[in-house]
């Protein structure tokens, strides 16, 4: 009797400690989210203030008053639409070329042994991990190269079709690794089984391998989209009017004066697709993280 009571008491204290832990974790989580979103809150407030001012505190809401005028101004601007179209075009092209280039490469790396395979994979790994100064040097070299081509009569500057190729090249090393490790985890027996069952190569690839790796494909497409959508530096160098470039140019007015509220409203509009994408593709991102994806 006594022992059973003590077990009961023990389990009660165990429950209590578990409950307490959960409360602590929840509070901590809320604090972290708050700290992360606090600047975002200021951006939202700034975007909704009347006049072009930067919000310095919550009390500015009473001082200036709230309105959607900056949003309306943004979406009624023709230049906004034309740059939006360019950005969408570039994003779609980047997604398509990324999938077309990365998928066969990753499948080949995963399933076949060929001369130079390991060396190439290692090179991919090195290239995907080198950043910082090397990346800047690469961009400068790229710009010089493209400017030379332009002066030789090949239209590279201001040409939106150049950007998807550059963005895809940037995606290749890391995403090939990601998709390769995904294919590695997909049993080879799947291919072999369909091989014996009489499927042709195209059936194996399009009916078995690709559908079975749908979530990896979605991740690749998403990364490609984000790389294309959010990129500003190269697009600006090459004088392609993407949405990011448009926002930069309208926000920074003549004389380096910054229209803060316009800038904030446009930035939020600009971020919306990515936020929606993250929300929709959340479970695929989880899966990608399991395969060691998602760059830091």
């Amino acid at each position: 009797m006594k022992s059973s009571l003590s077990i009961f008491r023990g389990s009660a204290s165990f429950l209590a400690s578990r409950y307490g832990l959960r409360i602590v974790a929840t509070v901590l989580g809320v604090l972290i989210v708050f700290a992360l979103l606090y600047p975002v809150l200021f951006v939202v407030i700034t975007s909704m203030l009347r006049g072009n001012v930067i919000a310095r505190g919550i009390e500015d809401i009473y001082k200036y008053g709230l309105s959607l005028e900056h949003y309306i101004a943004a979406i009624t601007d023709h230049a906004f639409y034309s740059s939006l179209q360019v950005s969408i075009l570039i994003s779609i092209l980047t997604i398509t070329t990324s999938l077309l280039v990365i998928t066969p490469a990753a499948y080949g790396f995963s399933r076949f042994k060929f001369w130079g395979r390991d060396t190439m994979l290692f090179a991919y790994l090195v290239v995907s991990q080198v950043g910082g100064g090397f990346g800047v040097a690469a961009i400068i070299a790229l710009f010089v190269f493209l400017a030379r081509l332009h002066s030789m009569g090949i239209p590279t500057l201001g040409n939106p079709f150049i950007l998807p190729l550059i963005y895809t090249a940037n995606q290749v090393p890391f995403q090939t690794w990601l998709l390769k490790s995904y294919f590695d985890a997909l049993p080879k027996e799947l291919d072999e089984s369909s091989f014996i069952d009489g499927a042709s190569w195209s059936q194996i690839v399009f009916k078995v391998v690709l559908p079975a790796s749908k979530s990896a494909m979605i991740i690749i497409a998403m990364f490609a989209f984000m790389a294309a959508w959010g990129e500003f530096l190269i697009a600006s160098f090459l004088k392609v009017n993407t949405l990011a470039k448009y926002i930069y140019e309208t926000a920074v007015g003549p004389g380096q004066q910054i229209n803060w509220s316009d800038f904030a409203a446009q930035a939020i509009l600009f971020a919306l697709p990515i936020i929606v994408l993250y929300a929709v593709a959340q479970r695929y991102i989880g899966e990608a993280v399991r395969y060691g994806a998602v760059k830091g």
């Binding site: 049993p187 799947l190 072999e192 089984s193 369909s194 014996i196 499927a199 009916k207």
Partner: protein, 391 residues
């Protein structure tokens, strides 16, 4: 239905030789097992027959047709993989229908014909209520059935099974064993079954090829492998506990004359009235042997290093010394493992540990001195140098 023939097949991976001059003849409708430890080349041999690997040397025939370089899909074989290899994005129905749909045009099937074939095979395997589910929603046993159904739906000539039961739990494995055998009999389909589990092979197969390090060690029916293993490897690989191998040699001594009792005649001791100078000298054990057999053994084994092989059920334990003493020795009880229907008693015979299968009931204590009586008719003699069976 088909027969499968392998002639001197060799497969190398780099410098390792995975399949080493394997020759087999699998009959039409036979249930044939490749049995061996891991790395013995049994799965590679199966993959060679399936066409997933091409042989470096030798010839593979399916029904008198040379298939060395024939594409897997044109061999009319179906394979079940150890991990089932179900397509994760397809329902059970689509999985089973895949082999038919993949070449529906070639087979000239209508969608409703495919449907009927899928329903028929899923009824056979008792999975017709699962057809709308996805593989991830099935238990291991159900996934296994789907994999079997997918391999059967095409009515292939040869059914290849690569350790299909090893991912199931012990209880399910037992029932699937019976079911697989029943199904194979009912369909009369030539079946090649790869396993490392000797009980599985023994209980299901008509014939078994025991493999080790890429070579076929012996081909035979389960009984042949069990009672007349052609070498030490098969003797110790088949049967649980494995065959006892007692190191012995033949010695010449003073001539004796003895009568072999009725229940021991016909073995190495000879039969009837025997006069001999030869003895099998083992630890704690000296068995007079027939001079003809002795000279035959010595001819086979010049080094005179032998193993006396005896199955655990062919030794009996006696508490008191029996009257006649041929094949009888003293031994000490080391461990007793009661298994319910029987007990496995480990005894020490000189420096050797031997295992004896005993009916339950008799109690032995550790360290107890007993007598063992070897059934010499069942005893085998192996060459200890090359492992081959002598008599």
């Amino acid at each position: 239905m088909a027969k499968v023939t392998l002639i001197d097949v060799v497969k190398r991976f780099g410098r390792t030789i995975a399949v080493d001059h394997v020759s087999l003849k699998i009959n039409d409708g036979e249930f044939y097992a490749f049995l061996g430890p891991s790395g013995s080349g049994k799965t590679t041999t199966l993959r060679l027959i399936a066409g997933l690997e091409t042989p470096d040397e030798g010839e593979i025939y399916i029904d008198d047709r040379l298939v060395n370089y024939v594409h897997p899909r044109d061999r009319d074989v179906a394979m079940v993989f150890q991990n089932y290899a179900l397509y994760p994005h397809m329902t059970v129905y689509d999985n089973i229908a895949f082999p038919l749909m993949a070449r529906r045009k070639q087979l000239k099937l209508t969608v409703s014909e495919v449907r009927n074939m899928v329903l028929e095979v899923s009824r056979l395997l008792g999975i017709e209520q699962l057809l709308n589910r996805y593989p991830s929603q099935l238990s291991g046993g159900q996934q296994q059935r789907v994999a079997l159904a997918r391999a059967l739906v095409r009515r292939p000539k040869v059914w290849l099974l690569d350790e299909p039961l090893s991912n199931l739990d012990a209880k399910l494995r037992l029932s699937m064993r019976v079911e697989l055998k029943k199904m194979q009999r009912a369909l009369g389909i030539t079946t090649i079954y790869v396993t490392h589990d000797q009980v599985e092979a023994m209980s299901m197969a008509d014939r078994i090829a025991v493999m080790e390090r890429g070579r076929v060690m012996q081909i035979g029916t389960p009984d042949e492998l069990y009672y007349r293993p052609s070498n030490v490897f098969v003797a110790t690989f088949i049967g649980a506990p494995p065959m006892n191998l007692i190191p012995c040699s033949i010695v010449e001594g003073e001539s004796v004359e003895y009568t072999v009792p009725e229940n021991k005649s016909g073995g190495i001791a000879g039969s009837g009235r025997v006069k001999t100078r030869f003895f099998m000298e083992c630890p704690e054990l000296r068995i007079p042997i027939d001079p003809w057999i002795a000279s035959a053994i010595l001819k086979e084994s010049v080094e005179n290093k032998l193993y006396l092989g005896i199955r655990s059920e062919h030794i009996s334990i006696l508490k008191a010394r029996p009257l006649e003493s041929i094949g009888v020795s003293r031994a000490v009880v080391e461990v007793v493992e009661p298994l319910g229907s029987e007990s496995i008693v480990t005894l020490r015979l000189g420096g050797e540990a031997i295992k004896v299968r005993q009916p339950p009931g008799e109690k032995y204590s550790m360290g107890e001195e007993v007598y063992i009586d070897i059934d010499l008719r069942k005893a085998l003699v192996f060459n200890a140098i090359n492992g081959g069976l002598i008599t």
